[in-house]
């Protein structure tokens, strides 16, 4: 990374001169305290990083700041005066812009149109002043130092370039606070560095920046101050030389990594799945991978590195373009999820609400969805057996539902995820693929899911774990396979893996690590 840290002059009275400051802010959702008594502020020209594990309250906090929903308690002041944001538009008007992980542009429109969306320059009579639109857009892009064509259609641009358009929009609207939510999640190294240059420019213009990232290195390099959240509370704010990885981690988890995760005992059996020269979709890259019974293999890579695509191909949801797949020592072809389930593969997908559950159906119906074939007797559904299977998992996973018919759309994220897990456990799989199994669920449910993964492996199941959370993947896996742009860059025994080792292998071209591959 080329950006040198720029320590801010010491500012003991932080709230003085803050653009926005939150005092004692709390927010409760049904059954969950998402934020409690949070104090946070942003000074002009600083990068204030926000750290914490998934579910710690980061996203709730930034949404409160950006006006997505109001706080239950506490106050927000903007340039010294107390404000209430009625809507995200309201916050935007005051100059607070949230840049999401997911880009929110109109893909069919041009760069310039997107930059000025909602505020087009108009001629008399209401006609669009196209000349001025593109002139202004070019000016803004130049100002940001972006080499972007104002006429280009946004949908044709890479993700990194789309993000630039969003940032250009922020500049055009003279934002005073820009909140970045995991901005480098889908970027390459060079793209990320370009982003850091932009952040630096914004800083110099006196814009306050809130930077949310899981990547310790970025936080250490960019941040002037770091605030750490845990379970909805601020556990500390660090500045200057106090910003160290050790300190941030301590504040984030409050205990050391080893005691937080209990790695399953290693009782490795026969090989279950082997991929050789396995290629998916457009990328010509191929993957070799092997997993044995009782083993938890972590699959780590950036978003867009091809982790989910790879597993979807194993599960028969995508076409395989090259290579072989062996199951329990025999060559097999899996052309549909039906084939996969028949062999004994379960797949807990990344997007629980879209891919994992039918939200309008009941808890029991969702639980039996993948094992309907086993629940048929004389042509009819065996509802007694179905009910008893549901009860079994409801008890074992401690799923909190009032009745078997309760619509799963009304349940909390943790209970929803448990139902997805129960659905796959009910198929008695030999291999369980878990794609981000703890995303968006509360801390307790997370711990339960972690414990369950360990138990399943100890009972002889092979588990492939995809996760963006490094502590989770390091803490649970026996072996970690890293992926960069569809290629395997490392196969590491988890006991000795550090976060840095993972970061290096998922951010850089694989050649550098060719000699490190285990096999």
């Amino acid at each position: 990374m080329s950006i040198a840290p720029q320590p801010l002059q010491s500012q003991p009275e932080a709230t003085q001169g803050a653009i926005i400051s939150l005092e004692g802010v709390g927010r409760t959702f049904p059954g969950v305290i998402a934020l409690s008594d949070v104090t946070f502020d942003v000074l002009p020209g600083e990068v204030h990083a926000l750290c914490g594990e998934n579910g710690a309250g980061k996203s709730t906090l930034m949404r409160v700041m950006a006006g997505s929903f109001p706080q239950d308690s506490g106050t927000i002041s903007y340039r010294g005066e107390t404000v209430t944001f009625a809507s995200p538009m309201d916050a935007k008007r005051r100059g607070i812009l949230l840049i999401h992980q997911e880009i929110s542009l109109v893909p069919e429109l041009s760069v310039a149109e997107n930059i000025f969306l909602g505020d087009f320059p108009k001629l008399r009579g209401g006609r669009l002043d196209t000349k001025k639109l593109y002139r202004d857009a070019e000016h803004v892009l130049e100002d940001c130092g972006y080499d972007l064509d104002a006429h280009a259609i946004v949908g044709d641009l890479s993700l990194a370039r789309q993000q630039m358009v969003e940032i250009a929009r922020a500049t055009a609207f003279n934002c005073s606070v820009v909140i970045f939510d995991e901005p480098t999640g889908a970027l390459t190294n060079q793209e990320a560095e370009a982003l850091f240059v932009t952040i630096d420019r914004l800083k110099k213009r006196g814009v306050g920046i809130v930077y949310i990232s899981h990547k310790m290195k970025e936080v250490l390099t960019l941040a002037d101050r770091v605030t750490v959240l845990r379970d909805g509370k601020v556990t500390g704010t660090l500045s200057g030389e106090k910003i160290t990885e050790r300190e941030i981690t301590r504040l984030m988890i409050g205990r050391s990594l080893d005691s937080y995760f209990h790695r399953a005992r290693r009782r490795i059996g026969e090989e279950v799945l082997r991929l050789e020269g396995f290629g998916v979709g457009g990328s010509a890259k191929t993957v070799d991978l092997s997993i044995r019974a009782g083993e938890i293999v972590g699959l780590y890579g950036l978003v867009g590195a091809g982790r989910s695509e790879l597993m979807e191909a194993v599960f028969g949801l995508r076409k395989i373009t090259s290579g072989k797949l062996s199951w329990c020592g025999q060559l097999r072809e899996i052309s549909s999820p039906k084939d996969a389930v028949r062999l004994g593969i379960g797949f807990v997908p990344e997007d629980r609400k879209e891919q994992g559950l039918v939200l309008g159906l009941g808890a029991r119906d969702n639980t039996s969805m993948a094992s309907l074939r086993r629940l048929v007797r004389f042509g009819f559904m065996d509802t007694i057996k179905e009910q008893s299977i549901f009860e079994k998992y409801r008890e074992r996973l401690e799923i909190k539902v009032s009745t078997a018919k309760t619509r799963v759309g009304t349940l909390s994220g943790g209970n929803q995820q448990k139902i997805v897990l129960a659905k796959w456990m009910a198929t008695a799989p030999k291999l369980l693929i878990l794609d981000e199994p703890t995303r968006g669920i509360d801390v307790n449910a997370k711990a339960e899911v972690h414990a369950l993964i360990g138990e399943l492996a100890e009972s002889g199941l092979a588990v492939i774990l995809i996760s963006s959370e490094m502590p989770e993947i390091i803490g649970l896996s026996h072996r970690i396979v890293t992926i960069y742009q569809g290629e395997v860059t490392g196969d590491l025994a988890a006991e000795h893996v550090t976060e840095d080792m993972l970061v290096e292998r998922v951010m850089n071209p694989p050649e550098r690590f060719a000699d490190l591959l285990i096999g």
């Binding site: 997908p349 559950l357 309008g360 659905k423």
Partner: protein, 316 residues
């Protein structure tokens, strides 16, 4: 019954329909007489049989608008084949046509992934044209209706109950079992509720959708046999507009247009309610086209109720 405290939009709508019905019963003489009820049930059995099939398609989250002109086509085929070939052909060929059309619809929607509204709307016109070609624009009729066993299907009685009503009830029982008690039925609900999640759960969503259209087409073929046997003649546009009557009955019963929620029992309620209302309008002496007005008001009202209750639930 936790909803009693605050009735859902759908419950309000059903209550309104029942209220209209009771008012009708009090003011329209003879509405609830045995004869009138029998007649009314005989009339709705054709709509009812079609609605059973369409229920599968709607629960799977799609539409089937072909049923109107499919009924026209199957009816003219049944009538012409009766005299030209045999009564046996008249009770078999329409079912085969229904099945084939169901497969075409299934191919368009499930395999080619076309929008079901547009695809079946297109097929509606295609089938109407085929019916016209088949009859060369003429109406068809059976020469000696009194001399054929074919008439029993639509005109006969068993223990004072019209045969069409019995056929409707039998098919209702069969489809209720298929939808409520089998694996296929369960899959229809999950595909309608969330097709992607169903695929991720190893359900063959395309096959399920395809089958739903096959069921809908086949039942429409059967309904056409009942219809032509009752009338003993068929115009090439007999079923024109029927698709909307059927759809309004299905959603009036409470099957959600959004998919994933519904049932055969609900469809029966919807068909009977709509039948009574239209019958009452006829008895009052309002012209036939007022029925159209009512159908459309019902559709719009029910769609609103559906959306309103969904909003309440999802955002709760």
């Amino acid at each position: 019954m936790k909803d009693i405290g605050r009735p859902s939009a759908r419950q309000l709508l059903i209550a309104a329909a029942v209220l209209v019905l009771l008012t009708g019963g009090a003011t329209v003489p003879g509405l609830f007489s045995f004869d009138n009820i029998t007649q009314m049930l005989r009339q709705i059995s054709v709509t009812g049989i079609i609605a059973l099939g369409v229920t599968f398609v709607v629960i799977a989250g799609r539409l089937d608008l072909t049923v109107g002109s499919l009924l026209s086509l199957c009816a003219v085929v049944a009538i012409t084949l009766h005299d030209e070939i045999s009564p046996v052909a008249a009770v078999t060929v329409p079912i085969i046509i229904g099945l084939v059309v169901g497969c075409i619809n299934g191919f368009l929607v499930a395999i080619l992934r076309l929008n079901s509204l547009i695809a079946t709307l297109g097929m509606l016109s295609v089938l109407q044209a085929v019916a016209l070609v088949w009859t060369s624009g003429q109406n068809a009729l059976i020469d000696r209706p009194e001399a054929t066993w074919f008439a029993v299907i639509g005109r006969g009685y068993l223990l004072d109950v019209p045969i069409p009503v019995l056929i409707f009830l039998l098919l209702a029982a069969l489809t209720a079992i298929l939808l409520g008690m089998t694996r296929f039925g369960r899959e229809v609900f999950s595909v309608g509720g969330n097709e992607i999640a169903s695929r991720f759960s190893s359900i063959a969503a395309r096959q399920v959708l395809f089958t739903c259209y096959m069921i809908s087409g086949t039942l429409t073929g059967m309904a056409a046999i009942v219809f032509s046997s009752r009338v003993m003649a068929a115009q090439n546009n007999s079923g024109s507009g029927l698709e909307l009557q059927v759809l309004s009955a299905v959603i009036l019963g409470g099957t959600s247009l959004a998919g994933g929620d519904g049932g055969i029992g609900r469809t029966i309620i919807g068909v009977v309610l709509l039948g009574f209302i239209q019958n009452a309008l006829l008895l009052i002496g309002l012209p036939y086209y007022v029925q159209w007005l009512v159908s459309w008001v019902v559709i719009i009202g029910v769609v609103w109720a559906d959306v309103a209750s969904r909003r309440g639930r999802v955002l709760a």
